[in-house]
Amino acid sequence: MVYKIGVDVLKLWKPYTFPSPFDVLGTLVRLIGNNTIGIAILASMKRLFIGYVLSLLIGAVLGLVIIRYKYIDQYFTQLILGLQTLPSVCWLPFAVLWYGLNEKAIIFVIAIGSTFSITMAMESSIKNIDTIYLKAARTMGASGLKLYRRVIIPAALPGIIGGMKQGWSFAWRGLMAGEMLFATKGLGQVLMIGRDLANISQVVAIMIVIIVLGLTIDHLIFGKIQANIRYRWGLDK
């Protein structure tokens, strides 16, 4: 309705710049029907997964190193804070130079986008642990690795999960940036085809898919974990 009025009565926008909901729905059904979307989602998810897991590993290790060697902290943290604000698209030229126009480059962009979020979350949430937990644990004989595994990491977990969630959304953005430039499969690529063919319905259809996917994962995975942890830690009171 709103759309119809916008196009026909008010002439606010042209049909080819903003598609009607019916066209979008039709395109969506067609894309699902011929399995374009299925294949694209699968390809994108695979990249996202690899890139994200990589960023978790690298981000966590980097965070722990910063915590462990305090003198790195002063200069390095500032640098990483700066890097974190850099949109992951900016890494694209780098990625292409290093890896060429291929899968690796996309995964690099995904990983680099979320790594620094995870590092920063790790660093700040470990730094802000209530020292009473550490004191108590030490008097009960915990030290070294055991102290990390049994106390420091669990105590910092609510903050770390927050960073993982933020990292995930950066990874998504990196994925889209990479795919729109040079992927042979994937959601970003289908989106670009829509643009190249001036098929605005297809563009919007893919955007909807991306939003729905993003929300679903955010809610189902991170939302659940976060709610669970917040309850356990008694943070919702």
Partner: protein, 279 residues
Amino acid sequence: MSLVIQEVSKKFITKHKETYTLDNINLTFEKGEFICLLGTSGCGKSTLLNIIAGLEKPTSGRLFLGDKEIQGVGVERAVMFQQDALFPWLNVLENVEFGMSIAGISKEEKRERALKYLKMVHLTKFQNSYIHELSGGMRQRVALARALTLDSEVLLMDEPFAALDSQTKTILQQELQKIWWETKKTIIFVTHNVEEAVLLADRVIVMTANPGKVKRDIPIQLARPRRLESIDLTYIAAEVMRELKEEVEKVAKIEYDSDWSIEKDTVLYHPDSNLGIGL
């Protein structure tokens, strides 16, 4: 094994100033003694306790437990803090088992011992609860159970009941006396409450501030179990209170304006007004 504190001093040096917190503390605690460290706020009770725990290093001086010098933390010295310091990511039972897990004790034995101590503090019903589901008093009981599990010889307690309401406090004081009786631990208990000190202790160590020193070492020779209402206890508490009052006044003079003075008759239980009761 006795605990010996030898010429321990502590200075805190921060950006703004230097605080002389402990000055040449010399004390010997016998095995199984119940000691209360009593003193006004800021006189260095927590600092001394942390040094005994090994969480803090003395600037000079040495400490021995038996013939072993204390250097750093050790499981033979369990600590209970003013805040419960329980881990929110573990449930009650897992919290009590924590120290034993670190020590690598088998699962069955861990469970058995944890339940034994939870029973001692009457909390077996809550073994699967999370910490935030417990009241403040219950949390301190869990913390007490946790401190008992490692069978440490010394139990260090830093105002563990200070944040609790008086009924809960009374119950926990009774429980603690019983547990001390059953486990024969050396307990060093920090408090700024005179009645609490006299109720619990074999010896009350009165500390003075600026810098922290031992002012008096008062043996409390009252029969146990003791009750707060007992007249003997009140009588001794009044005596200790007088010691402390001088101290409070001294600190107040330093911290507040110089014309500050506590009215001479604020000590409620003056021994002379007791008409000879307790002689």
